[in-house]
Each structure stands twice: as C-alpha cells, then as structure tokens.
C-alpha cells in the first residue's frame, strides 16, 4: 500500500473523477460519435440498399408499398447504411439514441407532396 498512499491522499482532497450526473450535465459526445440514425423521407426513394447491407436486419424496406421500417433496438449503430445510401437520405447524429421501456419501431412513408 505505501506506493499508493500519495495518490490516495491526493484523491481525498481533489474532486471525484466521475461526473456528478443529475446535478451536472454530461460531457458532449465527441464530434464523430456514432449515435441516432435518422431517415429523411423527402429524399428516400425506398430502393432497399440500406436493408440489404444492414448486418443486424434493423431496416426493412417494402419497395412496392413505399414503406421503410426501422428497429432502433436491433440497430448496432455501425453506420453502414449511412455510407451506402446513394440519395443521402440517412444521417447519423452524434447524440445517443434515447432509452425506452419498450422496443419501439419507426415507420417512414414518402413525404406528402405539397
């Protein structure tokens, strides 16, 4: 123990290494953090490329009925769909996906033409 004593005493007088979460905000995720996946239904052409490359089968595309189903709780946030999409309709934000008490599903249909 003697070789840790200096560190232990220093730790007694300095603040905690962890963030005091409910009282203080968390640090921002890094700029390149791979977080929430967002689909833009104004750009999407429902080709189904993203569904074909998705390693965890989190995206289902029904090209005939123009409907895209995204399962955030199957998603591993690898970002392969974002790199694959030719229409740049998928973006990945650098914030964490929200927790939930049930496995929600997001359904996207073409945006109504104004």
């Amino acid at each position: 123990m003697p070789f840790m004593l200096g560190t232990i005493i220093r730790n007694l007088v300095t603040g905690p290494a962890t963030r005091r979460y409910p009282f203080k905000d968390l640090r921002e995720p890094m700029p390149g953090f791979r977080g929430r996946i967002v689909f833009d239904n104004t750009k999407c052409v429902f080709c189904g490329d993203c569904a074909r490359v998705c390693p965890s089968m989190a995206i289902e595309v029904d090209s005939d009925n123009k409907e895209l189903t995204y399962h955030p709780f199957r998603c591993i946030y690898c970002g392969t769909c974002v790199q694959t999409c030719l229409d740049r309709a998928i973006t990945q934000e650098n914030i964490y996906a929200a927790p939930s008490d049930h496995k929600s599903v997001e359904v996207y249909r073409p945006a109504a033409v104004a």
Partner: protein, 359 residues
C-alpha cells in the same frame, strides 16, 4: 488426507464470465483441476455461414467485447487474403492505431480486474480511471467506445486527420504521465501485489511450449513469440519487438501486460507519425472463392481464423481458434500445488475470456 472437490464458478465474484473449475483439494491445497466450459455458447460460427460475408465483419466483432476490433481485423484480412485484395498503406497504419487502442483498453481492464481480484480496490479505481481516458480516445477516433466498428473488407471506414492526431497525441501524453505517477510505481514496488503474485502459478518455458500457451502467458515464461512479429498490417514497418519476461509466474504475466500497454502507446504514436497520405479504402467487388488461414495477436494471444468460400455471398465455413482456449491447458498446470485462496488470482493471470472461447 481426504480429498474434497470445491466448485469454482461458473458464478464467482472474480470471474466476469462463466467457466467452472472443479478444484480437488487436500485441506487448503489444490491438487487437481477439471475445467468445464459451455455455459455461453452462442453459435457464432454457424451464424457466420448464414450471413453475407461482408456483414460478418460486425458479427465477428461481437465474439468478444474487449478485443472486438482485432477480431474484425483478422476476419477482414482473412477474406482479403482469399480475394487477393491489397489494402492501401494508410489503412494498414490506421488498423495498427485502432487495434493498439483496443489492446491498451483491454489490458487496463484486465489490470483493474486483477487488482480487484486480490482486494486492492484503490489500484482498481486508478486503473479504470486511466482506461476511461483510452475509451475517450477510442470514441474520438472511431465513434464508438468499445465496439469500434471501423474495419471493413478492403480497408478502414474512418480516417484520422491532422487535428485529431494531435488531439490523440496530447491525450496519450496525459495518460502516460498519470500512468507513470500512479499505477506503474505501485505495480513495480508494492509489497502487497508482490505477496499475491510472485511465485504463484508457475509455468516453465518447456511447459508453456508443450502445452501451446499463447500471448502474454507464453511471453511471461520467456518465449518471444508474438504474432505482430509476422508483420501483418503495418507492424513490419514499425520495428516491433515483443515484451518478454523470464519468471513465468503471475507477477511476470502482470509485468508483460503492463509493459505492453506502454508499448501499445508508443506504437500508436509511431504509427501516427509514420502514417502515409492516401486512400483508406479500396473498392472491392466479387465474392470469396477459396480458403485461407490468418493469425493475428489479440490482447490475450494469438487468434486464428480459417475461412472457406465458394464464390457466393455466404461463406462455407468460418473457424475461429481464440487465445483463451489455448491458455486453459497451461492454467491446469499452474493451479495444482497452490493455495485455494490463490486460485482467483492465478485464473485471472491468464486473462480468461470465456465468451471468445465458446463463441
């Protein structure tokens, strides 16, 4: 004296993952060991035959949560071998950076668990604080904190620009200062650590060779074998020398790993300095037709991948031999003769990763 059998695991405070060791004891002394594995088999090799071969990169990453990127890298290099793809030089250096970050975090996690295993809670806390700094570097460079997901067949998916490289250098410098002032002196000189590890779990050079030990377990017994010496990715150009200790006990295995953390730090800095400019990914087309074997060095030792494809999107077979599987026979030689209270520390000294072993 009557012999009794003490079950150690599958649920035990020092074991993060389930393995059972049936310890045959005479009084407090262990005289025989029988391991039992099979608690967390997930059928990943079979799942890899069902998935498309490009999607398997992400599946292989999930074999082990701690050395994830090296699994993905090995898989990619195996498929690249079959398909005859030469990845760009910059991608090779980036693979070194990402895999060494992963090695630093894995060894620091293990060192914390070991400190916790012999009851040195303050060292555990210090080590994990240092690990948090490495995780931040991983988040900065890869976008994820543990499962990095940056490898793909034909190269890597993330680049490190000049500003980010400077940020990584500054963070590593700070990390090194903290490591030098807190953890390293304690590991080197603390009598309580030495009392629990020196002379415990001896494995001689001959036994290590005969039983097929790999990784730090092998190198702590004085055998200089490290798959990075084969020069895969960019290790051949970085002047890699393996860390070797002669004693063969738990303390030597600790020292090998702590020195490897420093070595990984130096390798990242060297790779960032020497990294050539250029592409990071080559476009690949077609399907793997043929078979290949590839070996790389994980934090726990040598990992072997065998893949066979027959020209379609699914692989015919993917076989993985992980390091902990090779290190269980040496563990069975280390344990007999020790005190029952030393079993957790000796078991931890091989850095067991059971999720890898059973896949």
């Amino acid at each position: 004296m009557a012999r009794i059998v003490v079950p150690f695991g599958p649920q035990h405070p020092v074991l993060p993952e389930p393995i059972q060791l049936k310890l045959e004891c005479e009084d407090e002394k262990v005289v025989g060991v029988m391991p039992a594995i099979g608690y967390i088999h997930r059928g990943i090799e079979k799942a890899a035959e069902r998935n498309a071969f490009r999607q398997n990169v992400f599946l292989c990453e999930r074999i082990c949560g701690i050395c994830s990127i090296i699994h993905a890298e090995t898989y990619c290099e195996t498929i690249e071998k079959i398909m005859g793809i030469e990845i760009p030089p910059r991608a090779k250096y980036l693979r070194v950076v990402f895999s060494e970050e992963s090695r630093m975090h894995s060894h620091l996690l293990w060192l914390g668990l070991l400190a916790d295993g012999f009851g040195f809670e303050s060292l555990f806390m210090q080590v994990w604080r240092l690990r948090e700094m490495v995780l931040d570097i991983m988040e900065l460079t890869c976008g994820h904190r543990v499962i990095q997901s940056t490898n793909t067949i034909g190269g890597v998916r993330r680049d490190i620009d000049k500003e980010m490289a400077d940020d990584v250098r500054a963070r590593l410098k700070k990390w090194k200062e903290m490591m030098d002032s807190t953890v390293w002196p304690a590991i080197k000189r603390d009598p309580t650590i030495k009392a629990r590890t020196v002379g415990k779990g001896l494995l001689s050079k001959e036994q290590a060779n005969v039983l097929g030990a790999v990784g730090p377990t092998l190198r702590a017994s004085g055998v200089a074998v490290d798959m990075r010496m084969t020069g895969y990715a960019a290790f051949g150009e970085l002047g890699f020398e393996p860390v070797v200790e002669e004693a063969g006990d738990s303390y030597a295995r600790t020292l090998v790993r702590v020195k490897e953390i420093y070595q990984s730090c130096d390798l990242i800095l060297k790779a960032l300095d020497k990294m050539p400019e250029g592409e990071i990914l080559v476009e690949t087309d077609g399907f793997p037709d043929g078979e290949a074997v590839h070996r790389t060095e994980q934090p726990r030792g040598e990992v072997l991948y065998y893949a066979k494809g027959s020209g379609n999107r699914n692989l015919d077979r993917l076989k993985i031999r992980t390091p902990t599987f090779a290190n269980i026979p040496p563990l069975l030689v280390m344990l007999p003769g020790c005190e029952l209270a030393d079993v957790p520390v000796i078991t931890l000294s091989i850095d067991p990763c059971i999720a890898c072993t059973e896949r």
